[in-house]
């Protein structure tokens, strides 16, 4: 356990970072502090948590905008939105069961990891819904980017740069997100397909329909696989589209219709990768590829490693659980590279995470720019050293 610094407000974050700069002492950055297992282990004696920065600061349902301090727990935000029939459209996963973590994610952590769920395929990722940020950079200055309006191209978009930067470029103190009305009804078509390749084709067919599919996932079943396509809208629309889609897909396998609570529970489970949680000793990867390449990736990995898979994003996201070994990781890296995709080692014991690249390497020219961008934001290398990549 490292020393914990828990500022109560933004000024406290500024102060803590200035102190760290003065002492040239790196900091681990955390939201709820329960997820140090993320990516590579951070080498820092002290940890700065944003848990003290909590609360929704602005919510205008008719303007589709919500701001909250970075340490606000996700469930608090979801509850406030639900009161007005709205949602965070990219439906970030609740990873508590996957990681056996007791505390819910903070909104700052969600933004810092740009972690999106099934609806990402149609509505975009967390970063696509991020309108504005306040963050403290590595010299202890509070910097704003974006704002609280839906359309904004004023200056360089640091929101997207900070989203998904895993706390290595700045400490988010407040985020502003675009929110959307939650659908009034949802239904899912479950299609029994002969295998993964046929399943991905069925998902592509669903996504290429004019019916506005908002979820397209797939899992191998006892025989063959099950493909799921979700529809969300007003009840009359959902009923109509489910009928049309069902007719269009009938030739691809037996179709079952799941409605209401049953459909919602299914997508919660898919969002959280619940089917992969069972074996805690397994490593978990997320591999992002073009959908048509997914069957090849699954064949290469699931069969070779005896791993278990779950496909989301129309086949474009492969969740894989398999042995936590360097050999397995090399196989993942090779499969992702062969399909010109991307990978993240999502869950693994610390020694493995410290020993391997947990994200794809970048070409030299881009890595050089990346190092200069990091230096532009965090010149003294205060934030999360070693989190994303091993120090050069």
């Amino acid at each position: 356990m490292t020393d914990l610094i828990a500022p109560a407000d933004e000024a406290g974050v500024v102060e803590a970072i200035r102190a760290a700069v003065a002492m040239r002492e790196p900091l681990a950055i955390e939201g709820h502090g329960s997820k140090r297992a993320l990516l590579r282990p951070v080498q820092a004696a002290r940890t700065l948590t944003t848990r003290g920065l909590s609360g929704i600061t602005l919510y205008k349902p008719t303007e589709l905008v919500l701001s909250a301090r970075a340490g606000t727990p996700l469930p608090e935000i979801e509850a406030a939105l639900a009161e007005h029939g709205q949602m965070l459209a990219p439906e970030p996963p609740d990873t508590r069961s996957l990681f056996g973590a007791p505390d819910p994610a903070t909104i700052g952590g969600i933004v810092a990891t740009n972690l999106s769920g099934p609806r990402r395929i149609t509505v975009g990722a967390i970063r696509d819904h991020l309108l504005g940020i306040r963050f403290v950079n590595g010299v202890g200055e509070m910097v704003r980017s974006g704002g609280r309006v839906l359309k904004n191209v004023t200056g360089l978009d640091l929101c997207k740069l900070l989203a998904g930067s895993h706390g290595t470029l700045g400490v988010l103190t407040e985020v502003t997100l675009k929110v959307l009305p939650a659908a009034r009804a949802s239904a899912t078509l479950a299609i029994a397909v002969p295998g993964v390749a046929a399943g991905v084709r069925a998902l592509s067919a669903g996504l290429a329909s004019p019916y506005g599919v908002t979820g397209a996932a797939l899992a191998p079943a006892a025989s063959g696989a099950t493909a799921w396509l979700r529809l969300e809208d007003f009840p009359d629309s959902v009923a109509y589209r489910a009928g049309r889609l069902r007719a269009d897909l009938a030739a691809r396998g037996d179709v079952t219709l799941l409605e209401g609570a049953e459909s919602e529970a299914l997508w919660r489970g898919l969002r959280d990768a619940a089917p992969l949680a069972a074996a805690p000793e397994d490593a978990i990867w997320r591999i992002s590829v073009r959908p048509s390449a997914a069957p090849g990736v699954v064949a290469a990995l699931a069969d070779a490693l005896g791993g278990r898979v779950l496909l989301d994003w129309g086949g474009g996201l492969v969740w894989l659980a398999g042995p936590a070994t360097a050999a397995a990781h090399v196989a993942v890296m090779q499969a992702a590279a062969a399909s010109r995709g991307s990978f993240t080692l999502f869950r693994a014991p610390a020694p493995l995470r410290a020993a391997v690249p947990v994200l794809p390497e970048e070409p030299a020219a881009l890595a050089a720019i990346g190092a200069r961008v990091k230096a532009a934001l965090d010149p003294h290398q205060i934030f999360n050293p070693g989190r994303m990549r091993a120090a050069a």
């Binding site: 205008k60 349902p61 008719t62 303007e63 029939g85 740009n114 990722a125 970063r127 696509d128 950079n137 200055e141 910097v143 980017s145 704002g147 609280r148 309006v149 839906l150 359309k151 904004n152 191209v153 004023t154 200056g155 360089l156 978009d157 640091l158 929101c159 997207k160 740069l161 989203a163 998904g164 930067s165 009305p181 592509s204 996504l207 290429a208 004019p210 007003f234 009359d236 629309s237 109509y240 992002s288 073009r290 959908p291 048509s292 129309g314 474009g316 996201l317 010109r340 991307s342 993240t344 994200l359 794809p360 970048e362 020219a365 881009l366 720019i369 990346g370 200069r372 961008v373 934001l377």
Partner: protein, 475 residues
């Protein structure tokens, strides 16, 4: 007038040698250096500003772009990337000592994949060209700027352009998967790819909207989407701007996100009606065009819901299109809004601030007062769903005083946008036009932070160095 940085005298003096070097790197017809033939490149959509460049090159391949950039980088020569030159903020405005790198010859569609729902195109393919290439399968490329017939995807990426349908489908940034980029030092790199959410820093997101300052985009991988079964528009006219604003709030509050939600004020309605004869109500203070999508029955159901909501706000008229033709008639006036204003005034400035939608009545009232004070007419079109306001300020370019007043008026509107919680630009970019207003929205250290990121990509500040940031010494 906004100042351009002084040209480097040594570069100007070396012009003949530089042209010869470019001719050695590219085919002869790809290097333009005669005054007359460079003329078309001296300005863009912000025609009040003109500047002849040192030379213009029109490469046809990524390797040619890289060769030119490497040469310019090695010799300290400034560069200005250019697509179709439709920027309304002077984004493509040259410098006297800069080489304009035009991407228009890179206009090939490299790959279309309906199963993976993506297209790979070169930077000079037009926005509409992408949709044209995929529409036979019922697909489209979603962001639809009004300039889509001319503007190019490389320009769209660098401006993060929006369109009338971005309330539902998002802007350019939300519809990209990957880029091929020539860095300011001349390296060729790929960011993102044919997949979603490449792990690592989001270079794709940072480059989008970077206004040609961080690299030259040569290829773009875009998402293509299947179109809806159909779409239909309705028109709702109200007695006051506050009332129309309240109706917009009520529609969105009811859980409906129309694909488009456009607002026009009285002067705009009159200009458009005179131009397009679309049947717009001339007695209205404000008018909304609302479009929904789906099957005919779904459209009916949604339009009924919206009509019911609008009826609560004492409308002057509600007209629901009953056919695609009637929808087109409703859109005709709006789509021609810029042209319509062009007919009543020799020149106009198109402003582009964004405001929190709830501030619309206050902002329109203030703009009306400013219009009286400056003695210049203004018409307002507004993407009401997302708060992006386009005041069109009418002036006479032959009268320097009139232009100066129009610029000052425009700047005052943009300050107001920031004051009420909005921003300087929603989709047209900062360019040179709004460059000197950046300190209105950002603190000095915030601009320094952004400049430091520009420096990380372009240490010598050679790529579009006169855009976006007020002129100071590079950090």
């Amino acid at each position: 007038m906004i100042a351009l940085p002084p040209p480097k005298p040594d570069i100007l003096a070396r012009r003949t040698e530089i042209v010869a070097a470019l001719l050695a790197l590219l085919p002869a017809d790809a290097v333009i250096h005669e005054t007359l033939r460079m003329r078309p490149y001296e300005t863009d959509g912000l025609t009040a500003y003109r500047q002849m460049p040192l030379a213009v090159v029109l490469p046809s391949t990524t390797e040619q772009v890289a060769a030119v950039v490497r040469y310019c980088h090695a010799n300290g020569i400034r560069m200005v990337p250019r697509g179709a030159g439709t920027s309304l903020s002077g984004g493509a405005l040259p410098l006297e000592d800069a080489v304009v790198i035009g991407l228009m010859r890179m206009n090939r569609i490299l790959e279309i994949d309906f199963e993976d729902r993506l297209a790979v195109v070169e930077a000079g393919v037009t926005n509409l060209g992408i949709t044209k290439a995929v529409e036979h399968e019922g697909f489209f490329y979603a962001p639809d700027p009004s300039s889509q017939l001319a503007c190019m995807i490389g320009g769209n990426v660098n401006m993060n352009s929006g369109g009338a349908h971005c309330l539902k489908y998002g802007v350019t940034a939300n519809n990209l998967l990957g880029l091929k980029l020539v860095t300011p030092e001349g390296d060729i790199v790929e960011v993102g790819g044919a997949h979603l959410d490449h792990a690592g820093y989001d270079w794709l997101g940072l480059l989008t909207g970077s206004e040609g300052m961080l690299g030259i985009v040569t290829e773009v991988t875009v998402r293509i989407l299947r179109g809806p079964e159909g779409a239909r528009a309705m028109l709702a006219a109200f007695k006051g701007t506050e009332i129309a604003g309240a109706a917009v709030d009520a529609i969105i509050g009811s859980g409906i996100i129309p694909v488009a939600l456009e607002f026009m004020d009285r002067p705009c309605i009159h200009a458009c009606e005179a131009f397009a004869h679309a049947g717009y109500p001339l007695d209205a203070e404000a008018m909304l065009i609302i479009e929904v999508e789906g099957s005919v029955a779904e459209q009916d159901a949604l339009l009924d819901r919206i009509k019911e909501i609008c009826a609560r706000f004492d409308p002057i008229s509600l007209k629901v299109a009953t056919s695609a033709e009637e929808s087109m008639a409703i859109w005709k006036g709006r789509k021609g809004a810029f042209g319509a204003v062009g007919r009543i005034s020799p020149d106009y400035l198109c402003m582009d601030g964004t405001i929190p939608t709830g501030e619309l009545p206050f902002v329109l009232k203030r703009i009306g007062e400013m219009s009286t004070a400056y003695g210049l007419q203004v018409a307002n079109v507004f993407h009401a769903g997302d708060g992006n306001l386009h005041p069109l300020i009418m002036f006479d370019a032959n009268d320097p005083d009139s232009f100066h007043k129009a610029e000052t008026f425009g700047a005052e509107i943009l300050r107001l946008c920031v004051e009420v919680g909005g921003c300087l630009t929603g989709e047209h970019g900062v360019g040179v036009e709004k460059r000197d207003l950046m300190p209105v929205q950002f603190q000095p250290h915030e601009l320094t932070q952004q400049r430091a990121i520009k420096t990380a990509f372009d240490p010598a500040w050679l790529l579009n160095p006169h855009k976006v940031f007020p002129l100071t010494e590079p950090v």
